[in-house]
Amino acid sequence: MSKKIFLLLILFLSLSVFTGLYFGAAELSPDIFRLRLCRIITGLIAGAGLAVSGVIFQGILRNPLAEPYVLGVSSGAGVGAVLGLFFNLSLQTIPVLAFFGAGITMLIVYNLAKVNGRVSTQNLLLSGVIVGAVFSSILLFLVSISPNEAIHGITWWLLGSLQVFDIPLLATVSILVLCGIGIALFLTRELNAISLGEEEALHLGVNVDTVKRLLFVVASLITGSIVCVCGIIGFIGLIIPHAVRSIIGSDHRQVLPASAIAAGAFLILADTLSRVIMPPVEIPIGVITAFIGGPVFILLLRKKIKSPF
């Protein structure tokens, strides 16, 4: 990454951390400070993770519109996590269930979209949206029939929130997400090659099947872990990589780390916004990201339909 871009990103991040710490409805006290710091860490991890899994899905599916939320993967992870809560399973198993939820959803979406061995953009998005809708209703169903009082609280969680009460869970998730990002960073050159086409990548000596499978697991793991702690936050993996590409180009060696930092900063800002727009009400962060992400998605889709492929 060029030094200038890196410094700008760090500046952006520091700025958002600063506003995140010092703006809000309540007077700053040591307790409030600690709470906000925790939200900032969550935002950084969640933003970076969602952006990286967005970049991974876009890279291996060769499609700039792919993203965990759009593909229904977030909802699938949500079903996994809620099933865990529903049957009162231990906290450690919930990220595992969310991971399986995410992975199974991705497999379903991918195979539904595959017609004669080819995966077209239209089919991928359609099956992503449909599978996502089905999983969302399963989620709501589980929530509504649950006798467990605590589960009723998760309607809020479903809309996305950086408020984390369970510090050990946050720590586990952070480690998982950071490991995932680390593995992805090792495979950025392979992602570049795959962007040219799977066969092209083979001709460049890239073991496409292995790389794809590994990255697929990594992206599902990241998405699943993040959904466990902050619910379903959509479009981050779409908006940020898109913006980053339009500034620094498509080389994944730069797009991946730059997206991670930028998305962390962006999510912290969005969270601050959600707290200060109409205090004391807190707007779910998923609402804010969707407000920004929806139009960006439509713009991208229009651009894609106009182009010949």
Binding site: N63, A193, G197, H203, L204, V206, N207, R245, G249, S250
Partner: protein, 263 residues
């Protein structure tokens, strides 16, 4: 000349459906080989098997005496490069970034490009006359320019064998000849062996040392253009009436279509 690639009784295809049936031939080092045949005769399947991305269902291919599919993918990528008919890139990569990807087989994980890599990329761009496009985005280029960039990437790979699958079929005659002259030059000066699928029989006759004519998954005829491109062979394989002339300058066969008079 030694046998660079030996194809021994291969059957190749997809999902157990055989496209190629019992094919055997050899490619010599430094050869300029053309693979021709009607649509669906298995030309692309053969090229994919030869370039180590489609393992034959039966039979073996040997590269320099060892089993091609036993050689590691990233090792063979230093010897083989491939140019497809059409390369679709869905992200805004610059021409320079694309050509540099040709160096991927030479780089270990996280290792940055060395001066030698940059030099190889630059040189291949100067050969293909694409240096002036370096900062442009691949998707903004014309079909001819784009194909030149993809060839530059393939050359940056410093291959010993260059495979091409109908590299000129979308292009005007100017670009067709430009690309084939370029390949001929690489073949002569850099001793790169070229194996190419071509649709245009006249281009094949003009540029290739040897032709393999495929028909329905088997080799119908193989040899120098003068022997393969006879009107009998073409009529039999393509089911089309043709007149075979001689190119007055090169003396190579020249194929003319014979239009049926429609009453």
């Amino acid at each position: 000349m030694e046998k660079l690639i030996q194809v021994k009784n291969i059957h190749s295809g997809y999902h157990k459906k055989e496209v190629l049936k019992n094919i055997s031939f050899e490619i010599e080092e430094g050869e300029f080989l053309g693979i021709i045949g009607p649509n669906g005769s298995g030309k692309s399947t053969l090229l994919r098997s030869l370039s180590r991305v489609l393992r034959p269902l039966k039979g073996n291919i040997y590269y320099k005496g060892s089993d091609l599919y036993a050689i590691a993918l990233n090792q063979i990528a230093r010897d083989f490069s491939f140019v497809a008919q059409d390369t679709q890139v869905n992200f805004p990569f610059s021409v320079w970034e694309i050509v540099l990807m040709g160096r991927i087989p030479y780089l270990s994980r996280l290792q940055p490009q060395s001066a030698a890599d940059l030099k190889a990329a630059k040189e291949s761009m100067s050969i293909t006359d694409t240096l002036k496009l370096a900062g442009r985005q691949l998707n903004d280029l014309s079909a001819g320019e784009k194909q030149m960039v993809i060839i530059a990437k393939a050359i940056a790979q410093e291959p010993k064998v260059l495979f091409l699958d109908e590299p000129t079929s979308h292009l005007d005659i100017g670009h067709q000849v430009k690309i084939l002259n370029l390949l001929k030059g690489l073949n002569r000066d850099k001793k790169i062996t070229v194996a190419m699928v071509l649709h245009d029989l006249n281009l094949a006759a003009e540029y290739c040392d040897r032709l393999i004519l495929l028909d329905n998954g088997s080799v119908y005829k193989s040899g120098p253009p003068g022997e393969v491109l006879t009107y009998e062979n073409i009529e039999e394989v393509y089911k089309t009436l043709v007149i075979v002339n001689k190119n007055p300058v090169s003396g190579n066969p020249h194929i003319l279509l014979a239009r049926k008079n429609i009453p």
